[in-house]
């Protein structure tokens, strides 16, 4: 366990060393939030609410969805791909830790860093510029926290899966990009899932993506009843467990047919 904690710490410190990069990151996210803010305002027009969300809740939704993304988002799929291409993965695999576990911990270190230096100041900045309603109940904050942790796990698991495919495809920059776009759409980052046509919602129920952004954002905007919150959290938990299976399977196959390209 100690070695994994050390991994989190190392990545956190590494990020800290390059923290200036993050100030523009906050600006970029604010620009995106701004674009969607104006767009949603125009969409709402005279309407007071769409699909049970008021225009104020919608602004909050957009803001929290983007700032939460700063926490759960990481590039470990790309890192795994580079390490496989460079042949570094061979050395990583003989080290006394689980390679995938170690990558997850690095992602977590990055996430924790971004949570404190990006999400929180970013949220303050955005709350200052746009009309946003923060939750009043401490319980909502708690539920949001738990759900955010799950969304990190689900997103990281999907990243691991994408990263492992490099073993089979050798060059998968395109796939990584495609995955990112799919997650932005199906996770509820761009649009709350409840806005989709019913048939699409039915399909998305059976996909893990809404656990990444939709669930925590809905909890934060008070868009869920307490029963719905419990169900949503349970669903996230179930996905966290289910996704372990394909990762382990692919990992076993990948190790068997590993070809080191140089290194």
């Amino acid at each position: 366990m100690g070695k994994y904690l050390a991994m989190i710490r190392m990545r956190f410190l590494m990020m800290l060393a390059y923290r200036t990069d993050y100030y523009t990151g906050i600006l970029i996210y604010s620009i995106n939030i701004g674009a969607y803010y104006f767009l949603w305002n125009a969409i709402y027009g005279e309407k007071s609410s769409i699909e049970g969300l008021s225009s104020m809740q919608m602004t909050t939704y957009v803001a929290v969805a983007w700032m939460a993304r700063a926490f759960y988002f990481n590039n470990i799929d790309r890192e795994i791909a580079t390490e496989i291409k460079d042949g570094k993965v061979a050395i990583e695999m003989i080290r006394p830790y689980n390679y995938l576990g170690m990558k997850t911990m690095q992602g977590l270190g990055e996430g924790i860093f971004r949570f404190f230096f990006f999400s929180i100041p970013g949220m303050l900045l955005v709350a200052f510029i746009f009309p946003i309603e923060l939750p009043h109940e401490p319980a909502t904050w708690g539920m949001f926290g738990i759900s955010l942790l799950f969304s990190f796990i689900i997103n990281t698991q999907i990243n691991l899966l994408t990263g492992i495919t490099t073993f089979f495809l050798y060059n998968n920059a395109g796939l990584i990009r495609a995955k990112r776009v799919i997650i932005d759409l199906f996770s509820g980052l761009l649009l709350p899932i409840s806005f989709y046509p019913v048939w699409a919602q039915e399909v998305m129920k059976y996909l893990p993506f809404q656990g990444i952004s939709y669930v925590p954002s809905m909890i934060f905007t008070n868009g869920y009843s307490s029963g719905e919150i419990a169900m949503a959290l349970l669903q996230q938990l179930i996905w966290c467990i289910i996704l372990i299976i394909p990762i382990q399977l692919l990992w076993i196959v990948a190790k068997k047919q590993l070809i080191i390209q140089g290194g």
Partner: protein, 261 residues
């Protein structure tokens, strides 16, 4: 003539290297396509809940998006210079560029072409034709010519912003991440400018002319007469901003001192 032949030589060289990893090449096109589909899905879903967006109908918004894709594709294919500072100035690669017999900016552009982005022109045209037909737009004989001029004007406006920002690298070697920021601001140009407040509208028109990539030129084909003046300004804005940005670039090159050894 020399420039033209250089251009085609680089293009053919580029095709050879890209087709080496064919699967990935198609994956790149596919992921661009996916990106465009996602943006369309967004528009479609949104219009499931509203009839008009500040007076613009669904097909009109889709038309604007389709138009936007074309100058954007031209820009992304030939002005892939968002990492110019890291790639050329920090690593000292600019020294090599300056020894080449063609203009430094042209040389950089040639080295960084990314032709698969041109596929966006195809998607853009499909979207435009689809929404144009459902809007029952009438075409005059000169409209295709204007279309090409406006698309080129928009691409130049886009390019001008990025060339000007890349030139900052000649003055300050501080690592800037303004470039990704610009891509995000560029997205503002995909929607009608009247949904934004006055300050943003002013910026998108006169400071960072992203509105000339999408909504302004598209409004001519949508026959929105109140925007005609802006629509016809597109090529003028594109060319004048581009000339200014090349001037800034040239000034920057004069100041360039190389990076260490």
């Amino acid at each position: 003539m020399f420039y033209v032949s250089m251009f085609f030589q680089y293009v053919s060289q580029y095709m050879k290297t890209r087709l080496q990893y064919r699967a990935d090449f198609f994956m790149e096109i596919l992921s661009d396509l996916l990106n465009q589909v996602v943006n369309l899905v967004f528009i479609l879903v949104v219009f499931g809940h509203t009839q008009f967006l500040s007076g613009w109908s669904r097909e009109e918004i889709i038309f604007i998006y389709g138009f936007f894709l074309i100058p954007f594709a031209l820009f992304s294919a030939f002005f892939n210079i968002w990492d110019f500072n890291d790639r050329y100035i920090v690593k000292g690669e600019m020294d090599r560029i300056l020894t080449r017999p063609i203009h430094s900016l042209f040389q950089v552009i040639l080295e960084r072409i990314e032709l698969e982005a041109l596929f966006g022109v195809v998607t853009g045209l499909i979207i435009i034709f689809y929404s144009g037909i459902s809007l029952d737009l009438q075409l005059a004989w000169y409209d295709p010519i204007l279309f090409i001029i406006f698309a080129l004007g928009g691409a130049l406006a886009y390019a001008a912003i990025f060339v000007a920002i890349a030139s900052i690298g000649f003055w300050s070697d501080a690592k800037t991440s303004i470039m990704p920021m610009m891509y995000n601001i560029g997205n503002y140009g995909r929607y009608p400018v009247d949904i934004y407040n006055k300050v943003i509208r002013f910026v998108l028109t006169w400071v960072l002319p992203f509105a000339f990539v999408g909504v302004y030129p598209a409004s001519y084909f949508l026959r929105k007469e109140e925007w005609y003046a802006y629509a016809f300004a597109t090529p003028v804005i594109g060319v004048s901003f581009f000339v200014i940005s090349v001037f800034i670039w040239n000034q920057g090159v004069k100041r360039y001192r190389g990076a260490g050894n």
